[in-house]
Symmetry: C2
Subunit: 190 residues, 2 copies
């Protein structure tokens, strides 16, 4: 299985990015950490006919992945502008529809952004894998990646999450993806 992991924070010390790096360490052969979030231009529907190179690179990684793993902080009770901007570039991108997606939450108090992110992904016709979309409370735990890989409860939560994601992808594969286009509620209002 190929998984693309996307952190919604550009902060170097982000715990969401650290969580994803920890997951990569535990399953290096199947997970790739997306490094280009900060290089994506702001989404402009007028550019759909002339897609920027960084967006094309991002889309190709998405298309090639069996599943997407998102960990993103909450800013002012909302998703980060950076993760929403990346998702805006995928709204009209056919290979994203019906893709298995797990939404990780690194803070049990970040409920607004977590709910908003799931609603957005479902509207984009993603297959949000609930059993793999878990809260791993790290905010304030004072752990870096080395601390996380040495903490049994975190390692177990990650292994269980990955196992759920594997199952969801295995179930989805035989039936293939439903057809495009995505539902009309997914279309932008301008």
């Amino acid at each position: 299985m190929k998984i693309l992991a996307i952190s919604g924070s550009l902060r170097a010390a982000s715990i969401n990015s650290a969580l994803l790096r920890t997951i990569v360490r535990l399953a290096p052969d199947e997970i790739e950490l997306f490094q280009g979030l900060g290089e994506l231009p702001l989404f402009n529907p007028d550019r759909e006919s002339n897609i920027p190179a960084t967006v094309n690179d991002f889309r190709r990684l998405v298309a090639a992945a069996d599943a997407i793993l998102i960990a993103s902080p909450e800013y002012a009770h909302g998703v980060t502008g950076s993760i929403k901007n990346a998702l805006d570039w995928l709204v009209s991108y056919e290979p994203f529809a019906y893709k298995a997606v797990a939404v990780l939450n690194a803070s049990s108090r970040a409920q607004h952004a977590d709910a908003a992110l799931r609603e957005i992904l479902k509207t984009m016709a993603a297959n949000v894998v609930e059993s793999a979309s878990v809260t791993i409370p790290l905010l304030g735990a004072g752990l870096d990646e080395n601390g996380m890989v040495q903490t049994l409860s975190i390692v177990e939560a990650i292994r269980k999450m990955l196992s759920s994601l594997h199952e969801a992808v295995a179930v989805q594969r035989p039936s293939q993806s439903p057809s495009f286009p995505v539902p009309t509620q997914c279309l932008p209002t301008s």
Copy 2:
């Protein structure tokens, strides 16, 4: 009164941008349309100590305004990445707190983004002026700016909205702004 109008769409034919241009036409002396949304870099908390020039320009316009007017589309049941990115740069910017803000909605079916935007703004300690935060249903109406300024119901809705915003700013002024810092729920989770 000085009002800064911000469209959350970068699309040239955006009805939200057209609505704001129409409002500028009706009150050109007091409203300035923000032109720099697409030039703001993606928010990175690590850059707070070395703020990019375009962000500084944006912040200065915000600080100088008595009120902010936002009109932004809904993308996949969420706010646009572009408007959230602009707001992310204001979360820790003191002059934004307690600023009067009106949220315009150009589509009666864009309920998710409208609710999310209000929640985000309130969490940022903005003074969301409910009486001025109205839906002006333009999606599918086929009107450009010329059509809008010639449509009595739209012109009246805009004048009423501006009047409510005036009142809110007038009431707010005598008591001055409450003190910083903003509430802790406003702080990012990383």
